[in-house]
């Protein structure tokens, strides 16, 4: 930054992380088999959007005892904790004393389906893990992506000086392409959707909400 001296700081930055989980090649086929067999009315969420091309389960996935689910749970919570710790001023010891609570559901989007825009209450963090991704086809841009919405309204006044702002100052949606074995972690209040899927095969996601408690804290709101 010149001339003169000074600082250029992203003062209202939004954390977003994309991580690859280890061992996904072995884990994902087991998860796919298990989850595909339970994408049915018995396990469907009553509150999340559903359609013939979109299935969303209840948020008790991490209560399932099956080893693939518990293995994923452990890895996802570790990944979330790593990201959250990186965003905070806690010492390693202080952070290790926090309690962690989570709810998770799985979402299956079939070809021609989409997951409508949503955000989540009662938890500050959301993690979207990709178990399987479809083989995309067609010329459609933004085919089957996770799209996190820009929500700042200051773009109402736009001119030549602010319409091409670079990261981290750009005012635009953020795109993440679900890739098996990868997880996106971001604040749960952010509106996001999975765009229309054009291709073959299903997009299978595990979506986790996570929150933390101070030592001794018990007064958590209900999920």
């Amino acid at each position: 930054m010149q001339p003169g001296t000074g600082n250029l700081t992203p003062i209202f930055a939004m954390p977003f992380a994309s991580l690859q989980l280890p061992g996904a090649d072995q884990l994902n086929p087991q998860l796919q088999s298990l989850l595909a067999g339970r994408a049915n009315a018995e396990h469907a969420s009553a509150s999340l959007a559903q359609s013939p091309l979109l299935f969303q389960s209840r948020d008790d996935l991490f209560d399932w005892p099956e080893p693939p689910v518990q293995q994923l749970r452990a890895q996802l919570l570790r990944a979330i904790a790593t990201v959250v710790a990186s965003c905070n001023d806690y010492t390693e010891q202080q952070f290790g004393e926090l309690g962690m609570h989570s709810r998770a559901h799985f979402t299956r989007v079939l070809p021609d389906g989409f997951m409508p825009t949503t955000s989540y209450s009662q938890a500050p963090w959301c993690a979207v893990y990709c178990v399987t991704a479809p083989e995309l086809s067609g010329a459609r841009p933004l085919n089957g992506v996770l799209q996190l919405y820009e929500t700042r309204l200051a773009n109402a006044l736009i001119d030549a000086s602010n319409w091409r702002l670079k990261q981290p100052f750009e005012m635009a949606h953020h795109i993440w392409r679900p890739t098996p074995g990868y997880v996106a972690i971001f604040p749960a209040f952010l509106p996001h959707q999975v765009t229309f899927v054009q291709g073959r095969g299903s997009l299978l996601l595990v979506i986790t909400r996570a929150r933390f408690t101070s030592p001794g804290q018990t007064d958590l709101p209900p999920w």
Partner: protein, 216 residues
């Protein structure tokens, strides 16, 4: 002891105007015929602000400069409706509002199966409006098909929910507002509000006209 008067104010309200043009069948038929005939590269928006989709045709933004009678008729209806909404919600004296000139960018969309429009708003305009020429067929098992969805600008206001704020009445409710457009319907809203069109699953076409207005 006199009970204190309690006043509750919708302090951060977003005005969304809604009306429906009566006897719009003839007009819509003429507009549809005209738009379908001009669904080609000559009339396509050459500089779309969002990634274009094959399933959605967007015209140039000069629609209201077309001389065709049906377009002139729609121009009058839509801009008058915008002006009417402004008069309702503005405290500027009517005679001052009447002296303003409405400028606009106006275009049409033709959406086919799978077409959608990502969340967006309209910089450099104060009021926007959508007119529905043809709603497209409803699809029973896709209730979101083709919905016009407005996003609550109070992002994060629903981050904490309990029994006392989960079911606020419409004026105060937090969340997405969905509109299933019907032919002849006009929706007017502040241009800063983010909105999207959910994927359309009809086998026919969904046709709308949109305008962004600014006043001088």
């Amino acid at each position: 002891m006199v009970a204190p008067t309690l006043v509750i104010t919708p302090a951060f309200a977003v005005p969304i105007g809604e009306t429906r043009l009566a006897d719009c069948e003839r007009l819509n038929k003429e507009l549809e015929s005209l738009f379908l005939a001009r669904e080609n590269d000559e009339f396509r928006n050459p500089t779309p602000s969002h990634l274009p989709q094959q399933e959605l045709f967007e015209s140039r933004f000069n629609l209201f400069s077309w001389p065709e009678a049906c377009v002139r008729e729609l121009r009058t209806v839509m801009l008058n409706t915008v002006a009417q909404v402004v008069r309702h919600v503005s405290s500027t004296p009517p005679e001052q509002l009447a002296a303003l000139t409405i400028h606009n960018h106006t275009w049409f969309h033709i959406t086919r199966y799978g077409g959608s429009f990502v969340s967006h708003n309209h910089p450099l305009a104060s009021w926007s409006a959508v007119y529905c020429v043809r709603a497209g067929e409803p699809v029973a098992d896709q209730p979101l098909s083709g919905l016009l969805r407005f996003f609550d600008p109070r992002t994060g206001a629903n981050a904490y929910r309990d029994a006392a704020n989960a079911d606020l009445e419409s004026t105060y409710a937090v969340g997405v507002r969905n509109f299933r457009l019907t032919a002849g319907q006009i929706i007017v809203f502040p241009s800063y509000v983010y909105h999207e069109v959910a994927p359309f699953y009809g086998a026919d076409t969904r046709i709308t006209v949109a305008t962004n207005c600014w006043f001088r």
